[in-house]
Structures are given as structure tokens and as C-alpha cells.
């Protein structure tokens, strides 16, 4: 399959800070890739390299077979502005026209706004939109030029569940028609729902790059749930969570954990061991990484 975006050994420094450390990544046509990582892991830097906002310190960055610095190459991509950045005094239709003017193939304005649940707002000033509407307009702008690939940085941050679902539908629709997506999100649930492939970055490196399921499984973490009033200090616990009286423990070694739990003599009931969610896998991967540093 054709590679739409690629880095080869891409490194980016900001003064003494190493934001990206020899990252090699291929994103192929038709993929929907979720980019995960804690704040400061290098997600934004990676996206900024792909969309031409920053230059790599060393290595190669390729976009649609050319350089992201070349405006002609960028005709094939769409990017979401940050929600706070939209020019308040312009009308919705005007900003769509303005962005569309940069692209040879333009999406139909009414259809585009409809796709993101913004019907009937063409004449509204952006300053008069709700936060959720602004966010959806921002995402819609990424699709204004009928791109082959879109970069969506935190597309649904601050949206309520319903609006988030609507946006997901828009993104999935684009993907089903052959579009390629690179998505970052604070909501792992979002990556789990949308992405097929997950790239986990931390400390400027790719820590994991596989299918959602494989990333979930690869770390071998399990979620141990039980009812207990009080628990002693237990070894190998990566995260603890209390929910309606139940305690959830995330661990890489559930057998050892249960042995220690029984040995401690603390009373408990309703023991359950399950595979983890992506979120727990993510915690495990990044925690392991910090332990090495």
C-alpha cells in the first residue's frame, strides 16, 4: 500500500530538549492511526513535522511523496485548528470559503457543514457559536479541501458525549471512503472506538506500534477487581482505582498479586481477573518507560 506520511529516523530538538528521538513511522493510505502519549511525549512535535509547521533537526519527513514544507504537497492534507483560534468576527460560511480557497478540490459547503452537524449555521458569526460547535467547525475545516489525509489533534476535547459521537461518525465516514487519518486524543476510548492501529509515543520515541488489540495484549497487563474495605501494599500494582466499593488493580503479574493478597490475610470477595483496556495498557507502557529512564 502507498505510504502517505513517513518519518525515517526523524529527530527534533528544541535547544537542549530532545522532543523526538530517531522516530521512524509509516502511515499508509486508508489507515486510521491513533497517536497516544502523555503530555510532552512528542505527539504534537510529530504532527507539526508532518504538517510542515516545524522542520526536523535530522532525519527525513515525507508527506504524500514530497516535503511537508511544500505548499503544493499540503493540498492533499487537512488539519484542525485549535478551538480557541477561530477568528471570532467571521461567519461560518466565510471561514469555510476562506479555507476552501486554498484547495483545488473543494467540499460542498452545505454538505460539509451538515456532515458535522452544523446545518443552518452558515450565516452565524463564529463568536456566537457554542464551544462544541466551534470544535466541530474546526474539525470540519480539515475536510474542506477533500483531502487524502487528515491530521486531527484532540478533535473532541471538551465535547459532550453526543457531540463526540457525531464527530466520530464524520471521521469514520471519511475513513470508509478511503481517507487516511492520524488522530491524537486524550480519550483512549476514542482511539479504541476509531483507530485500527495505535502508535504510543513517550520521551520522543515510539514505544509501541500495533493494532489496538495487540497493544492491549502486548503489555500483558491484567485488571484484578475485588471487593475489600482495606488493602495492604501489594507488589507490581501499576494503578489503583476505586469504583462503587470495588477496587480495580492494574498489574503485569496477576498471579503474583493474588498470591500476595491471600498471604496478607486481608479479607476480600468477588475476585475477578480481566484483560485490560487500552487505557490500562497505555499506563503500563508509559510507566515501564519511565522506570527505565
Amino acid at each position: 500500500m502507498t505510504v502517505l506520511a513517513r518519518t525515517v529516523e526523524a529527530t527534533r530538538r528544541y535547544g537542549d530538549v530532545l522532543a523526538l528521538d530517531h522516530v521512524s513511522l509509516d502511515i499508509r493510505a486508508g489507515e486510521l492511526v491513533g497517536l497516544l502519549g502523555p503530555n510532552g511525549a512528542g505527539k504534537s512535535t510529530l504532527i507539526n513535522l508532518f504538517v510542515g509547521l516545524r522542520r526536523q533537526t535530522s532525519g527525513t519527513v515525507e508527506l504524500l511523496g514530497g516535503s511537508p514544507q511544500d505548499p503544493v504537497v499540503r493540498r492533499g492534507i487537512g488539519v484542525t485548528p485549535q478551538e480557541t483560534g477561530l477568528p471570532e468576527s467571521l461567519r461560518v460560511g466565510e471561514i469555510v470559503d476562506f479555507v476552501s480557497a486554498h484547495f483545488p478540490e473543494r467540499a460542498d459547503k452545505t454538505e460539509l457543514l451538515g456532515r458535522f452537524g452544523l446545518d443552518g449555521l452558515v450565516k452565524r458569526q463564529i463568536g456566537g457559536l457554542s464551544g462544541g460547535q466551534k470544535r466541530r467547525l474546526g474539525v470540519a475545516l480539515a475536510f474542506a479541501g477533500n483531502p487524502r489525509m487528515v491530521f486531527l489533534d484532540e478533535p473532541t476535547t471538551g465535547l459532550d458525549v453526543e457531540a463526540r459521537r457525531a464527530l466520530w461518525d464524520g471521521i469514520e465516514d471519511f475513513h470508509e471512503r478511503g481517507g487516511t487519518v492520524l488522530l491524537t486524543s486524550h480519550y483512549l476510548e476514542e482511539i479504541e472506538a476509531l483507530a485500527q492501529r495505535v502508535v504510543v509515543v513517550g520521551h520522543g520515541r515510539v514505544l509501541a506500534d500495533d493494532t489496538v488489540r495487540a497493544v492491549r495484549d502486548m503489555v500483558g497487563v491484567r485488571r484484578v477487581s475485588l471487593d475489600a474495605d482495606h488493602l495492604p501494599e501489594l507488589p507490581g500494582v501499576l494503578a489503583t482505582e476505586r469504583e462503587d466499593g470495588r477496587i480495580h488493580l492494574v498489574t503485569t503479574d496477576p498471579d503474583q498479586l493474588v498470591v500476595e493478597l491471600v498471604r496478607s490475610g486481608a479479607p476480600f470477595s468477588g475476585l475477578e481477573i480481566r484483560p485490560t483496556t487500552l487505557e490500562e495498557a497505555f499506563l503500563a507502557i508509559t510507566a515501564k518507560e519511565s522506570a527505565h529512564v
Binding site: 504538517v51 504537497v73 499540503r74 492534507i77 483560534g85 470559503d97 476562506f98
Partner: protein, 246 residues
């Protein structure tokens, strides 16, 4: 390329018109000065009134160039919208040119009240071709001020740009003889005057519209200022790009 220029200019003009404070500021101040100083004191003398009208037009243009441009450029740099624009398939040129064209339109709009007051309440006279030449000279003479405005806008944060552009604007306009004719100013001001860019710009405009003989030193200095401001603005632009986008 040209369609992008149209798109950017249209967008910037819409912003300017929707929040017209910049336009009002550029138009109001010279019109008020015109009524307060020119009409009562120089209104009866055709030559003086014509020259003073030129000066007031220049004050409006300087305000749009120095204050309007520096503040909008500084504000733009602070908005997250700015990096987004950089991801659109266009170089920096359409936006840059769009800014300059929008500023020039603001300048021309700001001359309307001044010209109306001059026509209605003073003895200022001008022929249509001379008026056209005068407007062209106005735009040309504003170039160094636009460049200084860009320099301030690229170097300073917006709050500082508001203050600094005013601090630059008033002394330069006064020393340049735009508020009072240079001939009636104190000796030391007369000595300094030809070296500030406003004087050269004024001399150019007065020569074209009122037929006065321009001060050669002032015209040369206007050229020197233009070159210096172009270098400074170019340096500031590159520095800003390098700091945020390299």
C-alpha cells in the same frame, strides 16, 4: 496564486470591517485635528490649507501603518489560528500581501473625512489629477511606516506594540511637521525635522498636491528610512519565523 491573494485580502478586510475600531481610529484622529487646527488657523490660505490637508491625510495613513499594522501583526502572532494558517497550502506571501492591501485600503478610507472637511470648510484647492497623484504619493510615502509597523509587530507582544507604536507615532509626526508647518517650529526642531521619515513623506505629498519645492535632505532621508525599515522588518520576520516554525 491571485485567487489566494483575493481570499486572504477578503478575509482580512471582513475582520477589519466587523471590528472597525482600527478603521475608526485611523479616520477619526486626522479628521478631528483637521477641524481643531487646520480649519480655524490655515483654512483661509489656499496654499497652507492644501498643505495642511496633505499633512492630515498623512497622519491618518501613518496611524494605520504604524499602529494598525503593528498591533494586528502582533496579535496575529499570539493566536493559535496563525500556526493553523501555516498548514494551509499557501506560502507566507498571500497573507502578507493581504495585510498590506488591507492597510492601504484603511489608509484611503481614512482620507475621506479629511478630504470632505477640506473641500467644505477650507480654501484648499486641488485638481482631480493632482488628487490622484497625491493619493499615490500618500501610499508610496507610507511604505516606510508600514515596514516600521511590521517590524514592531514582529518583535513585540501585542500589548507592548500598542504602546510602542504610539510612542513612535506622535514624536515622529510632530517632528516631521505634520501637526504644525515646519517653518514655524523652534530652531532645534527645524534642525532635526528633515531626518525623521514623516518630514520626507510630508515634503513629497506637499510637492505633489500644493506644488511646493521639497526639502532634498528630507527626501533622501525618506529613502534611507525605507531601506533601513525594510531590512529591520525582514530581519524581524525571519527571526520570528525561525523562533516559532523552524
Amino acid at each position: 496564486m491571485s485567487s489566494l491573494l483575493v481570499a486572504h485580502t477578503r478575509y482580512l478586510l471582513l475582520e477589519q470591517l466587523r471590528v472597525p475600531i482600527g478603521l475608526v481610529a485611523s479616520a477619526f484622529f486626522p479628521a478631528a485635528s483637521m477641524l481643531a487646527f487646520v480649519v480655524p488657523f490655515a483654512g483661509q490660505d489656499p496654499m497652507a490649507a492644501t498643505q495642511a490637508t496633505g499633512s492630515m491625510m498623512l497622519i491618518g495613513a501613518m496611524s494605520a501603518a504604524l499602529m494598525g499594522l503593528s498591533i494586528t501583526v502582533a496579535q496575529d502572532r499570539e493566536l493559535p489560528w496563525n500556526p493553523y494558517l501555516r498548514t494551509l497550502p499557501a506560502g507566507p506571501l498571500p497573507r502578507f500581501a493581504g495585510r498590506i492591501i488591507t492597510t492601504m485600503i484603511t489608509m484611503l478610507v481614512a482620507t475621506i473625512p479629511v478630504l470632505l472637511i477640506a473641500a467644505l470648510f477650507t480654501e484648499a484647492t486641488i485638481t482631480p489629477p493632482k488628487l490622484l497623484l497625491g493619493l499615490l504619493a500618500l501610499l508610496g510615502a507610507s511604505v516606510p511606516f508600514m515596514l516600521i509597523g511590521l517590524f514592531i509587530g514582529f518583535v513585540l507582544p501585542s500589548k507592548a506594540a500598542i504602546g510602542v507604536s504610539q510612542v513612535v507615532f506622535f514624536p515622529v509626526a510632530i517632528l516631521g511637521g505634520l501637526f504644525m508647518p515646519p517653518q514655524i517650529m523652534p530652531g532645534f526642531v527645524q534642525a532635526v525635522s528633515p531626518y525623521v521619515p514623516a518630514r520626507g513623506a510630508g515634503e513629497l505629498l506637499w510637492a505633489v498636491t500644493a506644488g511646493s519645492t521639497p526639502n532634498t535632505v528630507a527626501l533622501i532621508m525618506l529613502g534611507v528610512w525605507t531601506v533601513a525599515a525594510a531590512l529591520a522588518a525582514g530581519w524581524a520576520y525571519k527571526r520570528d519565523e525561525g523562533r516559532r516554525f523552524s
